[in-house]
């Protein structure tokens, strides 16, 4: 049976949950440089699902990110958590991409890897909260999608039946959260799933893997050649012995630009993005006009009385 191939799409994002005063410029725009960056939280949940599936079924887990060179940090963090192979898409030509142009580059990268059985990504990134890149990447790959997945119920890897038989393609069953409930869907493989924070608690990084990868830098490797991941290869460098007693090869941060992806420039970055930002306004809080009430019995009694008088309270 051929090895299951899982690709995880991740993003480095500004930590929007901890935006402080310094992060806003005087003109009301966001000073990204003043914000710490983090691994997009739900992408960590997607990676965790991938590692869990590998533990059950055996798989190669490849993580892809697109971003500036500094985004290599989320790939290092993916390696700390057990990713087998990582790819950084970085190029000025990718800059300014909206979700459509982003999904174009990501889909090309998945294709260049030879496709996948499962593509996993977080439901949405905390900087834009769009939840669009997952479905748009699926569409470009021609894969079906299950979004908002809170649980992967079952995975049947393909290859056990004859050609032409649906079972030969394998299947995945997943449960997604919907308003006031849930639905469970089964898809043939390949399929793209977007995963929510409900799915799991991501494991912490492995100390051993942190030691192995903390200083690793990205290398441009325009041709896709994964022989360095094969312990038998001369290119391979063993970093540790895995749980199954087999050597684990040291991964690299493979770096691809638009040429490596053979991408159409018109579909990339700002040029490939239908949407434009017309205007940005910062959310400015009005000066406080709250009437402060003393936190004692008299203060509270007066307030409640007033609210009843004004028919705010019944």
């Amino acid at each position: 049976m051929p090895q299951l191939r899982i690709v995880v799409l991740v993003k480095q994002v500004p930590d929007t949950a901890n935006v402080t005063g310094e992060a806003m410029k005087e003109d009301g725009t966001v000073n990204r440089a003043a914000l710490p960056t983090v691994f997009n939280p739900e992408d960590l949940n997607a990676l965790e699902e991938a590692i869990k599936l590998r533990e059950r079924h055996g798989a190669r887990v490849t993580v892809i990110t697109m971003g500036p060179p500094a985004a290599a940090q989320v790939l290092r963090e993916s390696l700390y958590r057990g990713a087998d192979e990582v790819v950084l898409l970085t190029d000025k030509a990718f800059a300014g991409a909206d979700t459509l142009a982003t999904s174009y580059a990501l889909a090309l990268a998945v294709r260049k890897l030879g496709g996948a059985d499962l593509v996993l990504c977080g439901r949405q990134a905390i900087d834009g909260d769009t939840a669009q890149v997952g479905p748009q990447t699926a569409e470009k790959l021609g894969y079906p999608q299950i979004t908002c997945v809170s649980r992967i119920d079952a995975l049947a890897p393909g290859g056990e039946a004859g050609p032409g038989d649906a079972r030969a393609r394998g299947s995945v069953t997943a449960t997604r959260s919907i308003e006031g409930g849930f639905e469970t869907l089964t898809s043939t493989l390949p399929c793209l799933l977007t995963v929510t924070g409900e799915a799991n608690d991501p494991r912490p990084p492995s100390v051993k893997l942190v030691m192995t990868y903390k200083d690793i830098a990205a290398e441009a490797m325009p041709q896709y050649d994964d022989t360095y991941l094969d312990p038998e290869s001369d290119e391979a460098e063993v970093c540790m012995i895995g749980r199954d007693g087999k050597p684990v090869c040291r991964a690299r941060i493979v770096q691809w630009d638009h040429e490596a992806l053979a991408a159409d420039r018109e579909s990339l970055g700002l040029r490939g993005s239908p949407t434009r930002v017309k205007e940005i306004e910062s959310v400015v809080l009005a000066q406080s006009e709250a009437r402060m009430v003393e936190p004692d019995e008299d203060g509270v009694n007066t307030l409640v009385h007033e609210l009843i008088e004004e028919h705010i309270l019944g």
Partner: protein, 361 residues
């Protein structure tokens, strides 16, 4: 906009559309809300309103008059057994086909789990722009690089964790598409005297692709995903309709502390709300969440207990008629949107409120 055929402009060219979401013959509220805004946008643009309605059988067909009453001029009805339940691939095929055929300039979707599953797939199929989770839509002009674009759709949404409000446009690509949050557009009054047209859209289920431009052909490839089961509880938490909402945040401290919030809500005849932090802590379920990723509320009285007041939370409650904030940090941002503030320990203040209400009322 040029006509596809070169002849007379076909029905719907340049219109404003709403892709209506329905489950078991019940239309999602946000779809009806969107028809109201679509009506206004279409009025500004001097075009008509189209509603795309997909599903199966009489209950879905019966929705068409309600869509007309809320503002649709034309209902494109795709009625086929294969469309009984929402599935991303066949619904994408239906919507994409209709957009290509009729060329609306604007297509709106509810920002529900269904709308946010469908709209990006359609946008990618049509290679057009899409803005997620809008809180406002307007018509306006746009200038870029000396080029002027008239009458674009301003797609207005919070971004960057709610710290900024961005206005997005899609100048070159049509249709302009957006998903819109439930509860932010005003539900239009149903006007039973309005008249409209129902266009039956021919749909065919086939094992393989057949060339037939006149109808939507759904093939086996559109059905590689199957619905195993769908469980939807009756909406028990009616935050949107509540007169009083009592919400708890991280300052409540514990599950036990949250019981105090619940008791205050019960006493005042209100509904329990929560900040995202309280939901993430597991003290209360997601259906109680108020804010950008939860429900938008507009009660007569909103009581925020131990909620610091992140932008995301404020976006979901700052339209409340009166806001009372209780927080032991007198500098918490929640006080900036509150009408009344009590800087103190909520574990002491809430029992005082309960006592005061019980004795006064």
């Amino acid at each position: 906009m040029a006509s596809q055929t070169g002849g007379a402009p076909e029905r719907g060219a340049g219109d404003v559309w709403v892709v209506v979401e329905q489950h078991d013959g019940v239309a999602a509220e946000v779809s009806l809300e969107l028809l109201g805004r679509a009506r206004e946008l279409a009025g500004t643009l001097g075009v008509s309103v189209g509603a795309v309605l997909a599903g199966a059988g009489a209950p879905v067909r019966a929705l068409a008059p309600a869509l007309v009453a809320r503002g649709a001029d034309t209902v494109y009805l795709a009625d086929h057994e294969a469309l009984t339940h929402y599935l991303a691939l066949p619904y994408t095929a239906v919507v994409s086909h209709l957009v290509r055929e009729h060329r609306p300039q604007i297509v709106l979707y509810g920002a529900t789990t269904t709308g946010r599953d469908l709209a990006p797939r359609v946008a990618s199929t049509l290679r057009t722009g899409l803005t997620a989770d809008c809180t406002d839509l307007r018509i306006g002009d746009f200038t870029a690089k000396g080029q002027e674009y008239a009458d674009l759709l301003y797609q207005i949404r919070p971004a960057f964790g709610g710290n900024i409000i961005a206005t997005i446009v899609s100048p070159e690509h049509k249709p302009q598409m957006a998903t819109v949050r439930e509860g932010v557009m005003v539900m239009p009054e149903a006007d039973e005297s309005r008249t409209g047209t129902v266009v039956d859209v021919p749909v065919q289920r086939s094992s393989a692709a057949v060339a037939d431009a006149g109808r939507i052909v759904l093939t086996d490839a559109d059905f590689v995903v199957t619905l195993v089961r769908r469980v939807q509880k009756e909406k028990k938490v009616d935050l949107k309709g509540a007169r009083v909402v009592v919400s708890g945040g991280v300052g409540v401290g514990s599950r036990e502390g949250f019981a105090l919030v619940e008791e205050l809500a019960r006493t005042l005849g209100g509904v329990v709300g929560a900040s995202r932090a309280a939901v993430d802590a597991g003290w209360v379920s997601h259906e109680h969440q108020v804010g950008q990723t939860g429900t938008t509320v507009r009660p007569k009285l909103y009581i925020a207990c131990g909620i610091s007041g992140s932008v995301q939370h404020r976006a979901g409650m700052d339209q409340s008629a009166r806001i009372l904030a209780i927080n032991n940090d007198p500098l918490a941002p929640i006080f900036a949107v509150a009408h009344y503030g009590i800087a103190g320990d909520l574990h002491k203040v809430i029992p005082l409120l309960i006592k005061a209400y019980r004795t006064k009322a």
